[in-house]
Symmetry: none
Subunit: 209 residues, 4 copies
DNA sequence: GATGAATGAGGGTTCATTCAT
DNA sequence: TATGAATGAACCCTCATTCAT
């Protein structure tokens, strides 16, 4: 009881804490996206999120830690999205997989366009990004193994890396004027499809079962 | 002879100036690449190039001007390389063109690994980059029109953008351990080849002659 | 009561802010006076006022803004003093007006010795100074019109400018050793008196009523 | 003979040196006038005078020394002009002396408008200016003693200082639009005349002979 | 715990002065 | 001796971070 009540007493605080953190991360995401890591200022992030600088530093003890948190969130979404796609992948044609991959990447971007800037730009934190990248690669490789089971491990890893890169191009497409953009998107989808299809025929040779 | 000697009288200065500029651009390239535009400091660039800050500012009157110079050099190389490739493209199979494109991109990167960071990075100078990118796209589109004359203008432009993006992946490959790297490179070459080949069959439809 | 206490809650901060600003303006006044605008450094002003550079910039976001504030304060005092003198001027003999003008100028200087350096000094902000000077001239002309109503507008304006300049000489007097200084002051007062008296006889001619 | 010839051998150099110095001082005067002491740069002065920085520093080993030389030149002119006026003063009415004094001050300004800025503005070199000012005061006092021989020494010195200050006002007049300017000048001349005339009647009392 | 004023190291840039040529 | 490129201390200003309230 006392436990419960004390927990209850704390709950609002925690909830408030969560709201604060969410507000800060939202503001951070926006401002990092707008200006890049270096040009973003903690003061502005604090202001936009309606937080005092001191409070901001209670939740994120440094600018880098805020960027890290944002990155982590991005990684979470990316990995979750990839895993979820992996579960559906078995039932898909390569064609629709290609589309799904592009959509996945676009969704990622629109949800967390900020993080990309961070992932690309920061000098420090190389290792964190490497780890995240590794996880992404594994997620992608898992999908490939599911839809193209005949591939060697090495081929699978290489394809994962290449696909990840190609998909990044979808973002570029989204930045263009709608007309040109949708053509670009179609092209990217087509490349992905071609790549997967080619891999399938390669696979045939390996897996004559 | 007297000409030579009199020319020599100022040569050392000029030569030293060129050396200085080269050293500064090298250091700038490195540090911009390592840290990005904002986080790079003129002081560090000066130090790494063995120059006093004041001297650095004699050659490049602002941080931005140094970045611009680096970008220009990169653009020059990129555009020249692309143009040169364009001249050879007519005589190539799509296969060898794919290889040549990848090689071109790699050469670009190794010569000017720096500029990428700048081209990607945030801030002012958006327009300069846009212009450069436009030039690059045109160069690529020109090649495509040469080897795939049946393509529509729009398809050509879209392919140019997508190819440019895919080729950027070659850089990633170069950053890997040799073993994995050469596999990755091979994959990218393969994707490019597939993409070109697919475009050629599309083209057949358009150009039934 | 509660009002008082709640007001008091922020009072210390505000009071400290005011003290800070006052200390900064004092230091700025001193150092601008000692070295002139360009040679004065924000670092030294910060140091002399016991403030960190960053804090200084919180209150005055640029060197120019500090100079402006100083100028404004000076202008305020000058204009107020002149206006106040103008109200008393009607009841004064020209003799006591001469003394009052000199005293006014001296008071101005001792309160704000700083601003003179700024008003005189070079650079941007020419217009602000021109505006201020214009206001001063008008204030002085108003006094003259009151005590010498027969003067033409043009004569009045000219006299105002000349008087303002002569009075500036009082400052010079204040900078001398007391003995020589009081003689100088007496001379200046005398010149002013002479000038006013001469204007009055001129005026007689214009206003034979 | 050998002396003569060796002197002759050196003469061209000396002459060239003098030309250089003159060019530098001219450029220095202009640029100090245009921008003030601090904002003027040795590089620009060198460039405008067609001199290499190194050479400039051979003649004037520091920025301050150049300013000093300019000041000295100004002092020379001022003192010479005053002395010359002193010689004519005996034969003049107070009226024409007033005019002559104003003209003298204006001439000084137009010949060396630069130096005023230097005399007023610089923090260092207080002593040099004091010495110059002292010489000026003596020159003025000498004139006064000549035209108003009955004055006490103290009165004379005080008047000299006040007159010098009033005359400075003539510069202000010269800066105005012609119309207003000539009115102002007339006023200043009038004040000077009044001041001198009043002193003469004072003097009468002292010197009833 | 929350607040936001205060801090001061560090960034880009300038310029008086020096010194290799 | 003349030159002008090189030097580096110092300037104005910013902002991540701390701490008194």
């Amino acid at each position: 009881m006392s436990t419960t009540s004390s927990a209850g007493a704390r709950e609002p605080k925690r909830r408030r804490g969560h709201l604060r953190v969410a507000a800060i991360m939202k503001a951070g995401a926006e401002i990092f996206t707008e200006k890049g890591y270096d040009a973003a200022t903690m003061t502005e992030i604090a202001a936009r999120s309606g937080t005092a600088t001191g409070s901001l530093y209670r939740f994120f003890p440094s600018k880098e830690s805020l960027a890290d948190a944002l990155l982590l969130e991005f990684a979470q979404q990316a990995l979750d999205g990839l895993a979820e796609l992996g579960e559906r992948a078995g039932d898909m044609t390569l064609d629709s997989l290609a589309g799904a991959l592009v959509d996945f990447r676009l969704a990622l971007q629109s949800q967390s366009s900020f993080a990309v800037a961070l992932v690309e730009s920061r000098g420090a934190g190389e290792d964190k990004r490497a780890k995240f990248r590794q996880a992404l690669l594994e997620g992608m490789a898992r999908i490939l193994r599911k839809v193209l089971p005949g591939l060697t491990q090495a081929k699978c890893d290489a394809m994962a890396a290449v696909l990840l890169h190609i998909l990044k191009g979808a973002v570029m497409a989204a930045g263009e004027k709608p007309a040109a953009g949708s053509i670009l998107l179609a092209e990217i989808r087509e490349v992905v499809r071609l790549y997967l299809a080619a891999a399938r025929s390669t696979e045939r040779g390996n897996l004559p079962s």
